[in-house]
């Protein structure tokens, strides 16, 4: 491990809940990016926990933008650096939560990708608006109970499937798109490195469980993140030059675990009946067949 890797650019003392996957994700991402990085963040858990004025957990220059324009502000930073002739050796990273990427910041993100700025956009996905009290988002998976998609006699919880954000971003024809997971740190670091080395826009979708919103123990965070990959719920892949037909699955479980192993660990899915789980299993099986993942055990 190099000296650069030992630097903690995301300082202790941030207010993330105990066992928050976001802390692990940002720490590891900044270890790869190093101190020559300028970051922007939009509103979301990450901003709330790390920049409570007058304190900040960041050791790198950071601009806090509004909810919808992390990508737009990063685009401004990148253009200004180029204009001043100081872009060489400087990484520009735009961070966003799932709300600020999938829903509210989507037009700014799409615009940034289309204009071809040399920016790495990193979406840290915990599958709902967690810091305002667990409201559903277009990243919330089918069947999850949230405060605005509550379960009950006539409701299964969230009734719509998760938006395939990485595929949508890849469809812009950008040079590098990848999905990553905090349980697979080496894979995550490799992808961050590739994304930063890419000339032009890169998009990274990082899966990070939330103990508060998903209703699991704070010590289960990494295990649940790993189960998402082992069951095929979240597939780790990368797409080069937006060639969606030619995606490369980077982590292939030898044998896929049943999706129930992942669902039953979280209380947001606690209300699902056997039939509901069978339906989710069928959808996951179909998806995994498309990605060429192995059959279920």
């Amino acid at each position: 491990m190099t000296e650069k890797e030992e630097l903690e650019l995301f300082a202790s003392g941030h207010r993330a809940c105990a066992g928050c996957g976001e802390g692990t994700a940002v720490r590891q991402i900044l270890k790869v990016a190093g101190p020559n990085t300028i970051a922007t963040i939009c509103t979301g858990c990450l901003e709330v926990v790390s920049t409570g004025y007058p304190e900040t957990a960041w050791e790198i220059p950071l601009i806090h933008a509004a909810f919808e324009n992390s990508a737009a502000v990063a685009a401004g930073v990148e253009v200004a650096l180029k204009e001043l002739g100081r872009k060489e050796g400087v990484n520009v990273i735009a961070f966003g939560g799932d709300g600020g990427t999938f829903d509210i910041g989507f037009q700014a993100l799409s615009g940034m990708l289309e204009r071809g700025h040399d920016i790495t956009y990193i979406c840290i996905d915990n599958e709902a608006y967690m810091n305002t009290g667990i409201q559903r988002c277009s990243s919330t998976p089918y069947g999850a109970s949230t405060t605005t998609s509550p379960t009950g006699k006539y409701s299964i919880g969230e009734s719509r499937p998760k938006k395939p954000i990485a595929a949508i971003c890849a469809a812009h024809g950008i040079p590098y798109t990848a999905t990553a997971n905090i349980a697979y740190i080496n894979d995550l670091k490799k992808k961050v490195k590739k994304a930063l080395e890419t000339e032009g826009p890169a998009f990274l979708h990082v899966f990070a469980p939330c103990p508060t919103g998903w209703r699991h123990g704070s010590d289960d965070t990494i295990e649940i993140a790993r189960l998402a990959v082992e069951t095929g719920v979240f597939v780790l892949y990368e797409i080069i030059d937006g060639d969606i037909c030619n995606l490369n699955v980077t982590v292939k479980p030898k044998k896929r675990k049943p999706v129930e192993d992942y669902l039953k660990r979280q209380r947001r899915f606690g209300h699902l009946t056997k039939e509901d789980i069978a339906k989710i299993q069928q959808e996951v099986d179909e998806k995994c067949d498309r990605y060429g993942l192995p059959k279920r055990e």
């Binding site: 300082a11 941030h14 066992g19 802390g23 692990t24 720490r27 004025y53 007058p54 304190e55 990494i222």
Partner: protein, 88 residues
């Protein structure tokens, strides 16, 4: 506490969140058995709060910041870390 607000709320003090000790949130405390530890540093990598330091032949906790989430204990491949109830 009075907080001085700078122009544009610019904060020049990087990493100042370290002033706030999150260790007070803890209800269970990690204890490492260095004889069992194989220095794989998996706990170090997964810790969300950067509360684990690498030392020769193992790790050391910074209990000022450890929130007691228990990820390190659960992910330890040789079960060298146990969580014990915090004493007042």
């Amino acid at each position: 506490m009075t907080v001085k607000i700078t122009l544009g709320a610019i904060n020049k003090e990087h990493g100042s969140s370290r002033k706030y000790k999150t260790g007070g949130w803890r209800t269970v405390c990690p204890v490492v058995d260095l004889e069992k530890c194989i220095s794989c540093y998996r706990c170090y990598d997964y810790c969300p709060d950067a509360a684990i330091k690498k030392i020769e032949n193992g790790i050391e906790y910074d209990l000022d910041y450890c929130k007691g989430c228990g990820i390190c204990s659960k992910e330890c491949p040789v079960k060298a870390i146990v969580m014990v109830k915090e004493e007042k």
